[in-house]
Protein backbone atom coordinates (compact mmCIF):
# COMPACT_ATOMS: atom_id res chain seq x y z
CA UNK A 1 0.00 0.00 0.00
CA UNK A 2 1.54 3.26 -1.04
CA UNK A 3 1.02 6.38 0.93
CA UNK A 4 1.03 9.61 -0.94
CA UNK A 5 1.18 12.83 0.90
CA UNK A 6 0.04 16.12 -0.50
CA UNK A 7 -0.03 19.45 1.21
CA UNK A 8 -2.36 22.37 0.76
CA UNK A 9 -2.55 25.81 2.24
CA UNK A 10 -5.45 27.51 3.93
CA UNK A 11 -4.49 31.14 3.59
CA UNK A 12 -6.81 33.99 2.91
CA UNK A 13 -6.27 35.83 -0.29
CA UNK A 14 -7.76 39.21 -1.25
CA UNK A 15 -9.23 38.99 -4.75
CA UNK A 16 -12.31 40.29 -6.50
CA UNK A 17 -14.94 41.12 -3.91
CA UNK A 18 -18.26 39.55 -4.88
CA UNK A 19 -20.06 42.66 -3.67
CA UNK A 20 -18.69 44.82 -6.45
CA UNK A 21 -20.73 43.02 -9.03
CA UNK A 22 -24.05 44.13 -7.62
CA UNK A 23 -23.41 47.84 -7.98
CA UNK A 24 -22.91 47.52 -11.68
CA UNK A 25 -26.07 45.41 -11.99
CA UNK A 26 -28.39 48.02 -10.53
CA UNK A 27 -28.87 49.39 -13.98
CA UNK A 28 -31.01 46.46 -14.97
CA UNK A 29 -33.61 45.32 -12.47
CA UNK A 30 -32.99 42.01 -10.87
CA UNK A 31 -34.95 39.52 -13.04
CA UNK A 32 -36.71 38.27 -9.93
CA UNK A 33 -38.10 41.69 -9.12
CA UNK A 34 -39.05 42.06 -12.76
CA UNK A 35 -41.19 38.94 -12.66
CA UNK A 36 -43.05 40.10 -9.57
CA UNK A 37 -43.69 43.48 -11.11
CA UNK A 38 -44.91 41.78 -14.26
CA UNK A 39 -47.42 39.75 -12.28
CA UNK A 40 -48.78 42.85 -10.64
CA UNK A 41 -49.01 44.79 -13.87
CA UNK A 42 -50.86 41.90 -15.49
CA UNK A 43 -53.20 41.67 -12.53
CA UNK A 44 -53.97 45.38 -12.55
CA UNK A 45 -54.60 45.39 -16.28
CA UNK A 46 -56.91 42.41 -15.97
CA UNK A 47 -58.68 44.06 -13.07
CA UNK A 48 -59.14 47.35 -14.90
CA UNK A 49 -60.44 45.68 -18.02
CA UNK A 50 -62.69 43.33 -16.08
CA UNK A 51 -64.15 45.98 -13.85
CA UNK A 52 -64.99 48.20 -16.79
CA UNK A 53 -66.16 45.30 -18.91
CA UNK A 54 -69.74 46.41 -18.51
CA UNK A 55 -69.02 49.35 -20.74
CA UNK A 56 -67.56 47.60 -23.73
CA UNK A 57 -69.10 44.14 -23.54
CA UNK A 58 -72.73 43.15 -23.84
CA UNK A 59 -72.66 41.87 -20.27
CA UNK A 60 -70.17 42.60 -17.55
CA UNK A 61 -67.86 39.70 -16.72
CA UNK A 62 -68.90 37.59 -13.74
CA UNK A 63 -67.18 38.42 -10.44
CA UNK A 64 -64.51 40.73 -11.85
CA UNK A 65 -67.16 42.78 -13.58
CA UNK A 66 -68.62 43.81 -10.26
CA UNK A 67 -65.43 45.15 -8.77
CA UNK A 68 -64.78 48.87 -8.65
CA UNK A 69 -62.10 49.76 -11.17
CA UNK A 70 -58.53 50.50 -10.06
CA UNK A 71 -58.79 53.94 -11.59
CA UNK A 72 -61.79 54.72 -9.38
CA UNK A 73 -60.00 53.31 -6.38
CA UNK A 74 -57.06 55.60 -7.03
CA UNK A 75 -59.34 58.61 -7.30
CA UNK A 76 -61.11 57.69 -4.06
CA UNK A 77 -57.76 57.23 -2.36
CA UNK A 78 -56.62 60.70 -3.32
CA UNK A 79 -59.82 62.14 -1.91
CA UNK A 80 -59.60 60.18 1.31
CA UNK A 81 -55.98 60.99 1.99
CA UNK A 82 -56.91 64.67 2.15
CA UNK A 83 -59.73 63.98 4.59
CA UNK A 84 -58.70 64.25 8.28
CA UNK A 85 -61.46 61.81 9.20
CA UNK A 86 -59.55 59.13 7.36
CA UNK A 87 -56.49 59.62 9.51
CA UNK A 88 -58.66 59.63 12.63
CA UNK A 89 -59.77 56.19 11.59
CA UNK A 90 -56.15 55.09 11.55
CA UNK A 91 -55.68 56.39 15.07
CA UNK A 92 -58.87 54.78 16.31
CA UNK A 93 -58.01 51.36 14.93
CA UNK A 94 -54.38 51.67 15.92
CA UNK A 95 -55.31 52.57 19.45
CA UNK A 96 -57.54 49.55 19.81
CA UNK A 97 -54.89 47.28 18.38
CA UNK A 98 -52.29 48.66 20.75
CA UNK A 99 -54.48 48.42 23.81
CA UNK A 100 -55.71 44.90 23.27
CA UNK A 101 -52.35 43.58 22.11
CA UNK A 102 -50.48 45.12 25.01
CA UNK A 103 -52.90 43.48 27.40
CA UNK A 104 -52.38 40.16 25.65
CA UNK A 105 -48.60 40.43 25.90
CA UNK A 106 -48.58 41.63 29.50
CA UNK A 107 -50.81 38.80 30.64
CA UNK A 108 -49.74 36.18 28.17
CA UNK A 109 -46.00 36.18 28.72
CA UNK A 110 -46.07 35.65 32.51
CA UNK A 111 -48.89 33.15 32.12
CA UNK A 112 -46.87 31.20 29.62
CA UNK A 113 -43.86 31.34 31.94
CA UNK A 114 -45.94 29.94 34.75
CA UNK A 115 -47.29 27.17 32.57
CA UNK A 116 -43.80 26.26 31.49
CA UNK A 117 -42.26 26.19 34.94
CA UNK A 118 -44.88 24.35 36.96
CA UNK A 119 -46.17 20.99 35.76
CA UNK A 120 -48.83 21.07 38.43
CA UNK A 121 -50.16 24.43 37.32
CA UNK A 122 -50.03 23.29 33.74
CA UNK A 123 -51.93 20.10 34.48
CA UNK A 124 -54.72 22.03 36.14
CA UNK A 125 -55.06 25.07 33.94
CA UNK A 126 -54.01 23.98 30.47
CA UNK A 127 -56.93 21.61 29.70
CA UNK A 128 -59.47 24.39 30.27
CA UNK A 129 -57.31 26.78 28.25
CA UNK A 130 -57.16 24.25 25.42
CA UNK A 131 -60.86 23.49 25.57
CA UNK A 132 -61.78 27.09 24.91
CA UNK A 133 -59.16 27.60 22.23
CA UNK A 134 -61.23 26.66 19.16
CA UNK A 135 -63.95 29.11 20.15
CA UNK A 136 -63.26 31.97 17.75
CA UNK A 137 -62.66 35.28 19.53
CA UNK A 138 -65.57 36.87 17.70
CA UNK A 139 -67.91 34.33 19.22
CA UNK A 140 -67.03 35.94 22.53
CA UNK A 141 -68.26 39.35 21.44
CA UNK A 142 -71.81 39.09 22.77
CA UNK A 143 -70.64 37.66 26.07
CA UNK A 144 -68.00 40.39 26.30
CA UNK A 145 -70.57 43.09 25.69
CA UNK A 146 -72.78 41.70 28.42
CA UNK A 147 -69.90 41.75 30.83
CA UNK A 148 -67.87 44.88 30.19
CA UNK A 149 -69.29 48.33 30.82
CA UNK A 150 -68.05 50.00 27.66
CA UNK A 151 -67.83 48.84 24.08
CA UNK A 152 -64.15 49.70 23.91
CA UNK A 153 -63.41 47.42 26.81
CA UNK A 154 -65.34 44.58 25.26
CA UNK A 155 -63.41 44.97 22.00
CA UNK A 156 -60.17 45.08 23.95
CA UNK A 157 -61.18 41.93 25.79
CA UNK A 158 -61.96 40.06 22.59
CA UNK A 159 -58.64 41.16 21.10
CA UNK A 160 -56.94 40.00 24.24
CA UNK A 161 -58.54 36.57 23.91
CA UNK A 162 -57.56 36.25 20.29
CA UNK A 163 -53.96 37.33 20.70
CA UNK A 164 -53.22 35.62 23.99
CA UNK A 165 -53.48 32.10 22.62
CA UNK A 166 -50.64 32.19 20.06
CA UNK A 167 -48.45 34.07 22.53
CA UNK A 168 -48.98 31.59 25.33
CA UNK A 169 -48.73 28.52 23.10
CA UNK A 170 -45.58 29.68 21.40
CA UNK A 171 -43.98 30.73 24.66
CA UNK A 172 -44.80 27.36 26.12
CA UNK A 173 -43.44 25.56 23.09
CA UNK A 174 -40.24 27.56 23.26
CA UNK A 175 -39.75 26.85 26.93
CA UNK A 176 -40.33 23.14 26.55
CA UNK A 177 -37.91 22.91 23.66
CA UNK A 178 -34.99 23.85 25.87
CA UNK A 179 -32.53 21.01 25.96
CA UNK A 180 -32.76 19.65 29.53
CA UNK A 181 -29.02 19.13 29.50
CA UNK A 182 -28.51 22.88 29.34
CA UNK A 183 -30.61 23.26 32.46
CA UNK A 184 -28.69 20.57 34.28
CA UNK A 185 -25.39 22.07 33.23
CA UNK A 186 -26.44 25.46 34.52
CA UNK A 187 -27.59 24.03 37.82
CA UNK A 188 -24.48 21.95 38.31
CA UNK A 189 -22.41 25.07 37.71
CA UNK A 190 -24.24 26.65 40.61
CA UNK A 191 -26.52 29.11 38.85
CA UNK A 192 -29.29 30.70 40.88
CA UNK A 193 -32.93 30.36 39.82
CA UNK A 194 -33.04 33.95 38.73
CA UNK A 195 -29.85 33.52 36.78
CA UNK A 196 -31.18 30.47 35.02
CA UNK A 197 -34.34 32.33 34.19
CA UNK A 198 -32.58 35.37 32.82
CA UNK A 199 -29.74 33.72 30.98
CA UNK A 200 -31.19 30.41 29.90
CA UNK A 201 -34.97 30.37 29.80
CA UNK A 202 -35.58 33.87 28.54
CA UNK A 203 -33.19 33.73 25.57
CA UNK A 204 -34.55 30.34 24.59
CA UNK A 205 -38.14 31.42 24.81
CA UNK A 206 -37.84 34.85 23.20
CA UNK A 207 -37.65 33.73 19.55
CA UNK A 208 -40.72 31.55 19.93
CA UNK A 209 -42.50 34.35 21.74
CA UNK A 210 -41.60 36.72 18.94
CA UNK A 211 -43.24 34.41 16.43
CA UNK A 212 -46.26 34.03 18.67
CA UNK A 213 -46.57 37.79 18.88
CA UNK A 214 -46.42 38.17 15.12
CA UNK A 215 -49.27 35.71 14.81
CA UNK A 216 -51.07 37.49 17.62
CA UNK A 217 -50.90 40.89 16.00
CA UNK A 218 -52.39 39.45 12.83
CA UNK A 219 -55.29 38.07 14.81
CA UNK A 220 -55.59 41.39 16.60
CA UNK A 221 -56.14 43.23 13.36
CA UNK A 222 -58.72 40.69 12.27
CA UNK A 223 -60.65 41.16 15.46
CA UNK A 224 -60.43 44.95 15.39
CA UNK A 225 -61.69 45.09 11.84
CA UNK A 226 -64.51 42.69 12.60
CA UNK A 227 -65.50 44.48 15.76
CA UNK A 228 -65.53 47.81 14.00
CA UNK A 229 -67.59 46.40 11.18
CA UNK A 230 -70.03 44.71 13.49
CA UNK A 231 -70.47 47.74 15.67
CA UNK A 232 -71.18 49.69 12.55
CA UNK A 233 -73.37 46.89 11.27
CA UNK A 234 -75.71 46.30 14.08
CA UNK A 235 -75.24 43.34 16.40
CA UNK A 236 -73.08 44.94 19.01
CA UNK A 237 -75.13 48.02 19.48
CA UNK A 238 -76.09 50.85 17.19
CA UNK A 239 -73.87 53.63 18.52
CA UNK A 240 -70.85 53.95 16.23
CA UNK A 241 -67.93 53.78 18.61
CA UNK A 242 -65.40 56.20 17.23
CA UNK A 243 -65.01 54.86 13.73
CA UNK A 244 -61.85 53.11 12.73
CA UNK A 245 -60.73 51.58 9.45
CA UNK A 246 -63.09 48.63 9.74
CA UNK A 247 -65.97 50.98 10.27
CA UNK A 248 -64.80 52.95 7.24
CA UNK A 249 -65.05 49.85 5.10
CA UNK A 250 -68.45 48.92 6.36
CA UNK A 251 -69.93 52.36 6.03
CA UNK A 252 -68.49 52.69 2.54
CA UNK A 253 -70.30 49.51 1.64
CA UNK A 254 -73.54 50.60 3.21
CA UNK A 255 -73.21 54.04 1.66
CA UNK A 256 -72.56 52.62 -1.80
CA UNK A 257 -69.12 54.13 -2.35
CA UNK A 258 -67.43 50.93 -3.39
CA UNK A 259 -64.01 52.23 -4.45
CA UNK A 260 -63.59 53.46 -0.90
CA UNK A 261 -63.98 49.91 0.35
CA UNK A 262 -60.83 48.91 -1.44
CA UNK A 263 -58.98 51.95 -0.20
CA UNK A 264 -59.94 50.90 3.30
CA UNK A 265 -58.79 47.34 2.68
CA UNK A 266 -55.44 48.50 1.39
CA UNK A 267 -55.06 50.84 4.36
CA UNK A 268 -55.64 48.06 6.82
CA UNK A 269 -53.28 45.84 4.89
CA UNK A 270 -50.57 48.46 5.17
CA UNK A 271 -51.26 48.99 8.84
CA UNK A 272 -51.18 45.28 9.53
CA UNK A 273 -47.98 44.80 7.58
CA UNK A 274 -46.32 47.72 9.32
CA UNK A 275 -47.17 46.41 12.77
CA UNK A 276 -45.92 42.92 11.90
CA UNK A 277 -42.73 44.36 10.50
CA UNK A 278 -42.24 46.43 13.63
CA UNK A 279 -42.67 43.38 15.81
CA UNK A 280 -40.23 41.46 13.67
CA UNK A 281 -37.68 44.26 14.11
CA UNK A 282 -38.13 44.26 17.85
CA UNK A 283 -37.90 40.49 17.88
CA UNK A 284 -34.67 40.57 15.91
CA UNK A 285 -33.22 43.17 18.29
CA UNK A 286 -34.03 41.05 21.30
CA UNK A 287 -32.56 37.93 19.77
CA UNK A 288 -29.36 38.99 18.01
CA UNK A 289 -27.88 35.50 18.11
CA UNK A 290 -30.42 34.30 15.63
CA UNK A 291 -28.92 36.20 12.75
CA UNK A 292 -28.06 33.88 9.89
CA UNK A 293 -24.65 32.41 10.61
CA UNK A 294 -22.12 32.43 7.81
CA UNK A 295 -21.31 29.02 6.34
Amino acid sequence: MSTEVTTGLTTVVAPRAPGRRRLAGLRRLDPRVRRGALSWVALLVFWQLGATSGRWLAEPLPWVGRLPAPSDVLAAALVLVADPGYWHSWLASGGRVLGGFAAAVLCGVPFSALLASSARFRGIVFPVFELLRPVPPLAWVPAAILFWPTQELSIAFVIFLGAVYPIVLNGLGGARSIDPRLLETARSLGASRWSIFRRLLLPAVLPALAVGMEIGIGITWEVVVAAEMISGGGAAGSAASGGGLGFLIWSSYVGGSYPQIIVGMISIGIAGYASSALLRRIGARLTPWRRESVG
Partner: protein, 295 residues
Protein backbone atom coordinates in the same frame (compact mmCIF):
# COMPACT_ATOMS: atom_id res chain seq x y z
CA UNK B 1 -33.61 11.13 29.08
CA UNK B 2 -34.66 8.25 26.84
CA UNK B 3 -33.30 4.96 27.95
CA UNK B 4 -31.36 3.44 25.12
CA UNK B 5 -31.12 -0.09 26.44
CA UNK B 6 -34.78 -1.09 26.52
CA UNK B 7 -36.86 0.07 23.57
CA UNK B 8 -39.92 -1.79 24.84
CA UNK B 9 -41.34 -0.26 28.02
CA UNK B 10 -42.34 -2.79 30.63
CA UNK B 11 -46.04 -3.51 30.64
CA UNK B 12 -46.39 -5.84 33.58
CA UNK B 13 -46.62 -3.23 36.38
CA UNK B 14 -49.80 -1.82 34.86
CA UNK B 15 -51.63 -5.07 35.21
CA UNK B 16 -52.25 -5.40 31.51
CA UNK B 17 -51.52 -8.56 29.55
CA UNK B 18 -48.65 -8.34 27.11
CA UNK B 19 -51.04 -8.74 24.22
CA UNK B 20 -52.95 -5.55 25.06
CA UNK B 21 -52.96 -3.05 22.16
CA UNK B 22 -50.63 -0.06 22.26
CA UNK B 23 -53.30 2.57 22.76
CA UNK B 24 -54.75 0.75 25.74
CA UNK B 25 -51.37 0.74 27.38
CA UNK B 26 -50.99 4.47 26.75
CA UNK B 27 -54.46 5.11 28.17
CA UNK B 28 -53.73 3.07 31.28
CA UNK B 29 -50.45 4.84 31.85
CA UNK B 30 -52.15 8.20 31.50
CA UNK B 31 -54.84 7.28 33.98
CA UNK B 32 -52.23 6.35 36.53
CA UNK B 33 -50.42 9.64 36.26
CA UNK B 34 -51.39 12.98 37.78
CA UNK B 35 -52.75 14.33 34.49
CA UNK B 36 -56.41 13.26 34.68
CA UNK B 37 -56.80 14.49 38.24
CA UNK B 38 -55.24 17.85 37.56
CA UNK B 39 -57.46 18.17 34.51
CA UNK B 40 -60.53 17.40 36.61
CA UNK B 41 -59.48 19.98 39.16
CA UNK B 42 -59.06 22.53 36.36
CA UNK B 43 -62.50 21.94 34.92
CA UNK B 44 -64.04 21.92 38.39
CA UNK B 45 -62.38 25.22 39.24
CA UNK B 46 -63.52 26.80 35.99
CA UNK B 47 -67.11 25.65 36.31
CA UNK B 48 -67.08 26.41 39.99
CA UNK B 49 -65.92 29.98 39.60
CA UNK B 50 -68.45 30.53 36.85
CA UNK B 51 -71.18 29.16 39.10
CA UNK B 52 -69.95 31.16 42.03
CA UNK B 53 -69.73 34.50 40.31
CA UNK B 54 -72.91 34.29 38.30
CA UNK B 55 -75.41 31.95 39.88
CA UNK B 56 -74.53 32.13 43.51
CA UNK B 57 -73.11 35.54 44.25
CA UNK B 58 -74.44 37.46 41.23
CA UNK B 59 -71.47 39.84 41.38
CA UNK B 60 -72.05 43.28 39.79
CA UNK B 61 -70.39 42.75 36.39
CA UNK B 62 -71.34 39.11 36.24
CA UNK B 63 -75.02 39.33 36.93
CA UNK B 64 -76.04 39.80 33.30
CA UNK B 65 -74.22 36.71 32.18
CA UNK B 66 -76.09 33.44 31.82
CA UNK B 67 -75.39 31.09 34.69
CA UNK B 68 -74.17 27.52 34.68
CA UNK B 69 -77.53 26.19 35.76
CA UNK B 70 -79.42 28.10 33.07
CA UNK B 71 -77.11 27.02 30.34
CA UNK B 72 -77.01 23.41 31.42
CA UNK B 73 -80.75 23.23 31.85
CA UNK B 74 -81.39 24.86 28.49
CA UNK B 75 -78.88 22.70 26.68
CA UNK B 76 -80.28 19.43 27.93
CA UNK B 77 -83.99 20.20 28.12
CA UNK B 78 -86.50 18.59 25.85
CA UNK B 79 -88.47 21.77 25.44
CA UNK B 80 -85.91 24.57 25.55
CA UNK B 81 -87.38 28.00 26.11
CA UNK B 82 -85.24 29.45 23.33
CA UNK B 83 -85.69 26.65 20.89
CA UNK B 84 -82.19 25.21 20.85
CA UNK B 85 -80.95 22.21 22.77
CA UNK B 86 -79.43 18.79 22.35
CA UNK B 87 -82.89 17.45 21.68
CA UNK B 88 -83.95 19.87 18.98
CA UNK B 89 -83.15 18.93 15.37
CA UNK B 90 -82.49 22.56 14.47
CA UNK B 91 -79.43 22.45 16.71
CA UNK B 92 -77.89 19.80 14.52
CA UNK B 93 -78.95 21.64 11.39
CA UNK B 94 -76.93 24.62 12.50
CA UNK B 95 -73.94 22.43 13.29
CA UNK B 96 -74.15 20.66 9.96
CA UNK B 97 -74.52 23.93 8.07
CA UNK B 98 -71.39 25.30 9.63
CA UNK B 99 -69.57 22.02 9.11
CA UNK B 100 -70.59 21.90 5.50
CA UNK B 101 -69.30 25.39 4.85
CA UNK B 102 -66.03 24.74 6.62
CA UNK B 103 -65.65 21.43 4.83
CA UNK B 104 -66.17 22.95 1.40
CA UNK B 105 -63.91 25.90 2.05
CA UNK B 106 -61.25 23.66 3.57
CA UNK B 107 -61.36 21.26 0.63
CA UNK B 108 -60.99 24.10 -1.87
CA UNK B 109 -58.24 25.74 0.13
CA UNK B 110 -56.32 22.48 0.47
CA UNK B 111 -56.80 21.53 -3.16
CA UNK B 112 -55.46 24.87 -4.32
CA UNK B 113 -53.17 25.76 -1.46
CA UNK B 114 -51.04 22.62 -1.28
CA UNK B 115 -49.98 22.62 -4.95
CA UNK B 116 -49.41 26.38 -4.91
CA UNK B 117 -47.39 26.14 -1.72
CA UNK B 118 -45.31 23.24 -2.99
CA UNK B 119 -44.56 25.07 -6.20
CA UNK B 120 -43.70 28.22 -4.30
CA UNK B 121 -41.12 26.26 -2.40
CA UNK B 122 -39.79 24.12 -5.21
CA UNK B 123 -39.72 26.43 -8.20
CA UNK B 124 -37.90 29.76 -7.86
CA UNK B 125 -39.51 30.95 -11.08
CA UNK B 126 -43.04 30.26 -9.88
CA UNK B 127 -42.19 31.95 -6.62
CA UNK B 128 -40.94 35.06 -8.37
CA UNK B 129 -44.23 35.43 -10.21
CA UNK B 130 -46.73 34.43 -7.59
CA UNK B 131 -45.27 35.30 -4.19
CA UNK B 132 -45.33 39.10 -4.60
CA UNK B 133 -49.05 38.99 -5.31
CA UNK B 134 -49.82 36.73 -2.35
CA UNK B 135 -47.63 38.68 0.04
CA UNK B 136 -49.45 41.92 -0.73
CA UNK B 137 -52.88 40.35 -0.31
CA UNK B 138 -52.05 38.40 2.82
CA UNK B 139 -51.84 41.26 5.36
CA UNK B 140 -55.38 42.32 4.55
CA UNK B 141 -57.52 40.86 7.34
CA UNK B 142 -59.97 38.31 5.99
CA UNK B 143 -62.90 40.13 7.47
CA UNK B 144 -62.00 43.29 5.58
CA UNK B 145 -62.98 41.29 2.50
CA UNK B 146 -66.58 40.89 3.68
CA UNK B 147 -68.18 43.77 1.79
CA UNK B 148 -66.23 42.94 -1.36
CA UNK B 149 -67.24 39.32 -1.09
CA UNK B 150 -70.86 40.28 -0.79
CA UNK B 151 -70.52 42.52 -3.84
CA UNK B 152 -68.79 39.92 -5.99
CA UNK B 153 -70.74 36.81 -5.10
CA UNK B 154 -74.42 36.24 -5.29
CA UNK B 155 -76.47 34.85 -2.49
CA UNK B 156 -75.64 34.31 1.14
CA UNK B 157 -73.61 31.07 0.97
CA UNK B 158 -70.89 31.97 -1.52
CA UNK B 159 -69.44 34.98 0.29
CA UNK B 160 -69.21 33.00 3.51
CA UNK B 161 -67.47 30.07 1.84
CA UNK B 162 -65.19 32.41 -0.08
CA UNK B 163 -64.03 34.21 3.06
CA UNK B 164 -63.41 30.95 4.85
CA UNK B 165 -61.56 29.63 1.82
CA UNK B 166 -59.35 32.70 1.64
CA UNK B 167 -58.18 32.41 5.22
CA UNK B 168 -57.46 28.69 4.89
CA UNK B 169 -55.73 29.10 1.56
CA UNK B 170 -53.09 31.45 2.91
CA UNK B 171 -52.36 29.26 5.90
CA UNK B 172 -52.09 26.11 3.79
CA UNK B 173 -50.01 27.59 1.00
CA UNK B 174 -47.56 29.25 3.34
CA UNK B 175 -47.05 26.14 5.40
CA UNK B 176 -46.62 23.97 2.35
CA UNK B 177 -43.98 26.39 1.13
CA UNK B 178 -42.29 26.30 4.50
CA UNK B 179 -42.41 22.54 4.37
CA UNK B 180 -40.55 22.41 1.11
CA UNK B 181 -37.92 24.86 2.25
CA UNK B 182 -37.33 23.03 5.48
CA UNK B 183 -36.38 19.80 3.76
CA UNK B 184 -32.75 19.02 4.52
CA UNK B 185 -30.81 19.82 1.37
CA UNK B 186 -28.97 16.49 1.68
CA UNK B 187 -32.12 14.63 0.71
CA UNK B 188 -32.44 16.64 -2.47
CA UNK B 189 -28.78 16.24 -3.31
CA UNK B 190 -28.87 12.53 -2.60
CA UNK B 191 -31.88 12.08 -4.87
CA UNK B 192 -30.15 13.87 -7.71
CA UNK B 193 -26.98 11.86 -7.18
CA UNK B 194 -29.03 8.73 -7.51
CA UNK B 195 -30.25 9.89 -10.88
CA UNK B 196 -33.67 11.28 -10.12
CA UNK B 197 -35.21 13.72 -12.59
CA UNK B 198 -36.84 16.91 -11.35
CA UNK B 199 -40.25 15.26 -11.43
CA UNK B 200 -38.98 12.29 -9.45
CA UNK B 201 -37.41 14.57 -6.89
CA UNK B 202 -40.77 16.28 -6.51
CA UNK B 203 -42.79 13.08 -6.00
CA UNK B 204 -40.27 11.12 -3.97
CA UNK B 205 -38.60 13.77 -1.87
CA UNK B 206 -40.32 17.13 -1.87
CA UNK B 207 -43.89 15.98 -1.40
CA UNK B 208 -43.25 13.42 1.37
CA UNK B 209 -40.68 15.69 2.96
CA UNK B 210 -43.07 18.61 3.12
CA UNK B 211 -45.98 16.51 4.34
CA UNK B 212 -45.40 17.07 8.07
CA UNK B 213 -45.41 20.84 7.56
CA UNK B 214 -48.39 20.57 5.26
CA UNK B 215 -50.35 18.86 8.01
CA UNK B 216 -49.34 21.44 10.56
CA UNK B 217 -50.61 23.97 8.08
CA UNK B 218 -53.83 22.03 7.62
CA UNK B 219 -54.48 22.00 11.36
CA UNK B 220 -53.87 25.72 11.42
CA UNK B 221 -56.04 26.11 8.36
CA UNK B 222 -58.97 24.38 10.03
CA UNK B 223 -58.71 26.69 13.03
CA UNK B 224 -58.50 29.73 10.79
CA UNK B 225 -61.44 28.46 8.77
CA UNK B 226 -63.64 28.32 11.88
CA UNK B 227 -62.50 31.78 12.84
CA UNK B 228 -63.48 33.27 9.51
CA UNK B 229 -66.62 31.21 9.19
CA UNK B 230 -68.02 32.36 12.50
CA UNK B 231 -67.19 35.97 11.75
CA UNK B 232 -68.75 35.76 8.32
CA UNK B 233 -71.82 34.01 9.68
CA UNK B 234 -72.19 36.64 12.34
CA UNK B 235 -72.12 39.42 9.82
CA UNK B 236 -74.07 37.99 6.95
CA UNK B 237 -75.48 34.53 7.11
CA UNK B 238 -78.45 32.40 7.73
CA UNK B 239 -78.09 29.28 9.81
CA UNK B 240 -74.83 28.15 11.27
CA UNK B 241 -73.27 28.47 14.69
CA UNK B 242 -72.05 32.02 14.19
CA UNK B 243 -75.51 33.03 13.18
CA UNK B 244 -76.90 31.32 16.29
CA UNK B 245 -74.59 33.25 18.56
CA UNK B 246 -75.39 36.52 16.86
CA UNK B 247 -79.17 36.18 16.84
CA UNK B 248 -79.27 34.81 20.37
CA UNK B 249 -77.63 38.01 21.41
CA UNK B 250 -79.97 40.33 19.55
CA UNK B 251 -82.98 38.35 20.68
CA UNK B 252 -81.84 38.40 24.30
CA UNK B 253 -81.54 34.61 24.53
CA UNK B 254 -78.32 34.62 26.49
CA UNK B 255 -77.93 30.99 27.55
CA UNK B 256 -78.04 30.03 23.88
CA UNK B 257 -74.99 32.18 23.29
CA UNK B 258 -73.01 29.98 25.63
CA UNK B 259 -74.45 26.86 24.07
CA UNK B 260 -73.30 28.10 20.70
CA UNK B 261 -69.83 28.90 21.98
CA UNK B 262 -69.31 25.58 23.69
CA UNK B 263 -70.60 23.72 20.64
CA UNK B 264 -68.10 25.62 18.56
CA UNK B 265 -65.38 24.54 20.94
CA UNK B 266 -66.28 20.88 20.62
CA UNK B 267 -66.77 20.88 16.89
CA UNK B 268 -63.56 22.82 16.40
CA UNK B 269 -61.64 20.30 18.45
CA UNK B 270 -63.20 17.45 16.53
CA UNK B 271 -62.22 18.81 13.14
CA UNK B 272 -58.65 19.55 14.27
CA UNK B 273 -58.38 16.06 15.68
CA UNK B 274 -59.67 14.63 12.40
CA UNK B 275 -56.94 16.43 10.48
CA UNK B 276 -54.30 15.32 12.98
CA UNK B 277 -55.43 11.73 12.76
CA UNK B 278 -55.35 11.77 8.98
CA UNK B 279 -51.82 13.10 9.20
CA UNK B 280 -50.78 10.33 11.52
CA UNK B 281 -52.22 7.74 9.14
CA UNK B 282 -50.47 9.15 6.10
CA UNK B 283 -47.17 9.56 7.85
CA UNK B 284 -46.80 6.26 9.61
CA UNK B 285 -43.06 6.52 9.41
CA UNK B 286 -43.08 9.53 11.68
CA UNK B 287 -44.86 7.82 14.51
CA UNK B 288 -42.43 4.96 14.44
CA UNK B 289 -39.39 7.19 14.39
CA UNK B 290 -40.52 9.48 17.18
CA UNK B 291 -41.47 6.62 19.40
CA UNK B 292 -37.98 5.28 19.27
CA UNK B 293 -36.54 8.56 20.47
CA UNK B 294 -38.31 8.13 23.74
CA UNK B 295 -40.98 10.71 23.02
Amino acid sequence: MPDASSPEPARAPLGLPDTAPEWLWHAAAWLRGPAPYRMAIGYALALGSWYLTVDLLALPRFEDLPGVADVFREWTSERPSFGLSLHTPVYYEHILTSLRRVGLAFALATGLGVPVGLLLGASPRFRDYVFPVLEVLRPIPILAWVPLAIIIFDGAESPVVFLTFLASFFATALNAQLGVRSIEPEYLLAARCLGASRASVFWHVILPGALPSIFTGLELSVGVAWFSLVAAEMVSGQFGLGYVINTSFTMVQYPTIIIGMLTLGFVGHATSAAVRLTGRLLMGWRARTLRLEGA
